[in-house]
């Protein structure tokens, strides 16, 4: 695999590291199985692409994309905590609704951004020579900042309250925590991160497409699972680190699998490979336990 191809894989891996951090918040911290990602990722992309194509500043576009994602996550949580709709179902409703909303925002199935200014432009020369290096570098900075901010937040009073909400809601309420508000806030935070990923993604790919969200949640979950399988940890800053590494590793593995000619895989096999990979990551702890048990018997 060439250097450029590897950097390309890392670039997408970094985008999905943000998705994975969002998924970590919903699935693992709030214990809220949330499929909104498949709608909030393209929502972020649609908002950012439309604004940038309309001549707006790309940084403002990212910020507004995050707010839109936060609103989407808030809606999913609201359907659950206020209307008592099952978590999974709430998120599917919002995800489906977002498909129409995204089409409305873009006003077309896709919005090209060829030649438009992006958050990366100030650091890339006019000849676009250095973009293969600058884009992953900027994304890495964003991901590291997001990871560190989350670490600080989850060590704060409000962050601890959010973790208690997911871990033991009854106990959390007994300690005076409004679990409803925490769920609303946490889901908004989760989907704001996922929408930011979508906003950055369209700027690396040169445009937004209505179908760009398909499978987002599976990839995010894959990253979380790979991370926690490879680096089983209890303390949160290690868990966020593992999640980021999981996302990177996932994309690099995919790139290798698709690039290795002797395996004979093509781009259309991506989802199959993902499913196999997630499946493998899911049974890995079981295999490990079995291996340990076998060792225990012989010892």
């Amino acid at each position: 695999m060439s250097m450029i191809a590897l950097m390309g894989a890392l670039e997408i891996g970094l985008v999905f590291a943000l998705v994975a951090l969002g998924v970590l918040i919903s699935f693992r911290i709030l214990n809220f199985p949330d499929l909104t990602a498949d709608g909030s990722f393209p929502l972020g992309g649609a908002v950012a692409a439309t604004l940038i194509a309309g001549g707006h500043d790309p940084y403002t576009a990212c910020l507004i994309a995050m707010l839109a994602g936060a609103a989407a996550g808030w809606c999913t949580a609201w359907l659950n905590v206020r209307l008592n709709i099952l978590q999974l179902l709430s998120s599917i409703l919002v995800m489906i609704a977002l498909y129409s909303i995204n089409l409305r925002i873009m006003d077309a199935p896709n919005v090209p951004l060829i030649g438009a200014p992006t958050v990366f432009s100030p650091l890339i020369g006019d000849d676009f020579e250095s973009s293969w290096l600058v884009q992953p570098a900027v994304l890495a900075a964003v991901v590291i900042a997001a990871k560190l901010l989350l670490d600080v937040f989850f060590a704060s009073q409000a962050g601890l309250a959010m973790r208690a909400t997911g871990a033991n809601p009854r106990m959390a309420r007994a300690q005076g925590i409004s679990t409803d508000r925490m769920t609303l806030a946490g889901m908004a935070l989760s989907n704001a991160l996922i929408a930011l990923a979508g906003a950055l993604y369209v700027q690396t790919q040169g445009g937004a497409d209505i179908s760009m969200g398909i499978g987002t949640i599976v990839v995010g979950l894959a990253a979380v699972i790979i991370g926690e399988t490879l680096i089983p940890a209890r303390s949160l800053w290690v868990i966020t680190l593992a999640t980021v590494l999981g996302a990177l590793l996932y994309r690099v593995m995919i790139a290798f699998a698709l690039n290795a000619e002797f395996i004979g895989l093509a781009a259309q096999d991506l989802n199959l490979v993902t499913a196999l990979l997630v499946g493998f990551a899911l049974v890995l702890p079981l295999l490990k336990a079995k291996a340990n048990a076998a060792r225990g018997r012989t010892a």
């Binding site: 208690a164 309420r173 300690q175």
Partner: protein, 264 residues
């Protein structure tokens, strides 16, 4: 002061499994009083405690704490008034969080939570001091996950958590039921100490007649969602476990008779 007036609660109303659990329960407890609560399975003891904590909303009746009507206040909004320890050692703490994180959650019970660090250095010292009074060696295990502790250790920490912040009412629902006799005795002793030191208004549910008479200064018996016995002072001091048991059997016998009549 806790004032419950004519509380009623029916689970699954209007269905074949309709279950009237509280049927006009009234009880007033003075500030600082330690009351033990007994009653057969299904008498409504836990439901009553859940109504006080806000986990169950009564169908009718009123509930006031220190004169403030809390009948319909959500549980998280009255956490500053009510502290509780659950029967299940898992229920009162977060096993995925560390001991100090659990204590930090309780340290802020009923208060606003901001973006400041959850555990500050001064608090860590305080937690360590408090934990050392348990004499379980937990003061050296602040960073251990709660899930690593035994049931008895968790209940001891739960009690400590309930007393970190002042509250008006302490609710203990069979909080020693899941423990072996020795650990149960230890947790009960700790309960007496914490209640006494903090002058807490306390309701303790127990299935042990011995505990009901040995702890606190007043005993009430619930039956079919009502108070059927309420003793304190001399009458209670003279009471033996056998007396209480026979009264307990009598109320249960009455229900059997009622049922027999209905069936007959």
């Amino acid at each position: 002061m806790l004032a419950a007036h004519n509380l009623t609660k029916t689970f699954n109303p209007g269905t074949p499994i309709e279950n009237p659990v509280l049927r006009g329960l009234s009880l007033t407890i003075e500030s600082g009083q330690f009351v033990t609560v007994i009653g057969s399975n299904g008498a409504g003891k836990s439901t009553f405690l859940n109504a006080i904590s806000g986990d169950v909303v009564p169908d009718s009746g009123t509930l006031a704490i220190d004169g403030q009507d809390v009948t319909r206040l959500p549980s998280w909004q009255r956490a500053g008034l009510v502290a509780r320890v659950f029967q299940d050692p898992m229920a009162g703490t977060c096993e995925a969080l560390t001991i100090e994180e659990n204590l930090a959650l309780a340290w802020q019970r009923g208060q606003k939570r901001g973006l400041g660090p959850a555990v500050k250095k001064a608090q860590r010292e305080l937690f360590r001091d408090k934990l050392s009074t348990l004499k379980l060696g937990l003061e050296n295990r602040l960073a251990d996950r709660m899930g690593l502790l035994s049931g008895g250790q968790r209940q001891a920490v739960s009690l400590l958590m309930a007393s970190l912040q002042p509250s008006r009412i302490l609710l203990l629902d069979e909080h020693t039921a899941a423990l072996d006799p020795k650990t149960a005795a230890f947790v009960l002793e700790l309960t007496d100490r914490i209640v006494h030191e903090n002058k807490l208004t306390t309701l303790m549910v127990t299935h042990s007649m011995r505990q009901a008479l040995d702890h606190g200064e007043r005993t009430v018996m619930l039956h079919q969602g009502r108070v059927v016995l309420d003793v304190d002072g001399d009458a209670r001091a003279r009471m033996q476990v056998a007396d209480l048991l026979s009264m307990f059997e009598k109320t249960r016998g009455e229900t059997l008779d009622d049922d027999a009549l209905l069936l007959g």
